[in-house]
Symmetry: C2
Subunit: 258 residues, 2 copies
Amino acid sequence: MIASDATPEQIRAACRSGALQGATSGLALGYVQTNLVILPRAEAFDFLLFCQRNPKPCPLIEVLDAGAIEPRCAPGADLRHDLPGYRVYEAGELVAEPGDVAPLWRDDLVSFLIGCSFSFEAALMRAGIRLRHVDEARNVAMYLTNRDCIPAGRFAGRLVVSMRPIKAHQVALAVEVSARYPDVHGAPVHIGAPEALGIDDLARPDFGEAVAILPDEVPVFWACGVTPQAVMRASRAPFCITHIPGRMFVTDRPEPAV
Amino acid sequence: MIASDATPEQIRAACRSGALQGATSGLALGYVQTNLVILPRAEAFDFLLFCQRNPKPCPLIEVLDAGAIEPRCAPGADLRHDLPGYRVYEAGELVAEPGDVAPLWRDDLVSFLIGCSFSFEAALMRAGIRLRHVDEARNVAMYLTNRDCIPAGRFAGRLVVSMRPIKAHQVALAVEVSARYPDVHGAPVHIGAPEALGIDDLARPDFGEAVAILPDEVPVFWACGVTPQAVMRASRAPFCITHIPGRMFVTDRPEPAV
């Protein structure tokens, strides 16, 4: 059990020792957490370009040099060990979910740290907006949409969104607050009308867990950092390592104070 | 002579025909203009990473696919012809300033469009801030500082800043207004104290033209899109094409309304 006041360094140490293998939501509050994508150098330009062209789902917090394992945003960390769990994709297929990727490490691997919605969720809650998946201790509901990302080289695929039911009178506030966090997906991409995004049934998310939507609530959709994983599958990337959704890399960077 | 109300498309056509070979400041007001850097695909990942790590001097407006010449932000344009003039660097040395780079074009060249301060200058003037270099129809004064950019791969070098004298009572306003334009260098990087940036003599800029600083004014320094040219020199990049400072690429993208 990880103490709720554990520091980012303590959380990373718990990942490294195997003591923490679960979700990181609610931990290290006040510090930025990130999604992770690791690709060979040969694919890194195309993916960096993909992120530049699709900043809403892929806001870059940091990109490491090829072979580097210690991010500037977390001195002393080692990206091969310091997440609760990893996914390994080969030719777009999920082939393993190891707790450590040191045995797979190569000097040509480039690590991308991508902003995570935990940052703006904390801000939404400070603004008085209740988040049902937090109240119910579930993973947020995520959906593969019908909206194409802008492709870059070999990488193409559709946008993944996260959905949070928001009281109708607080939807504008949720937009205002999240818009202040462009590094973590920013303002919603879509409000209401899930069918226009190609989502037939909100009760059946493609990732995460469904939550109820009450009569005075509107489903609000934000671009989601799981998009790269959908893109890796769609693009049949030869080799890729990611985090497991919800089990993020915890940095030493304080949340932006906006 | 180009009409001051010429459209971006008309300005690009004038560049293509050779009718416009001079500066683009004051033209196509209300449309985004950009710096240009063109590099071989082999160096493109390192430079894209450099831009990601140094967003103040290198805010990316668009990065084209290798070989592509028509940006999304200017349909119908051709980056090989549509700037007033180009600089060609080999091994970090300036070797030519042609009016057209079609004869040098290769299918492996990647074009980077980088935000230009003209956008925030228009906003400063709308806010009631006089800009002396505009009043005097000079190129803005630019200085090579003692501040290192964050390196990426082969690319390293020092930050170049532009300087504008601002009335002391308007410095805070200038910060507020320019901060709204993160895509075009954003807020200043330094206010006053030029010696702390390693600038010994404001009357001798490294690029552009000097302007007077009056007793009630403070020199305010913004990160500058000429930084990549200093970096190309310092890094001895094998081959690079850029714009000529002040002679920018004019896009069809309206200035952000903020």
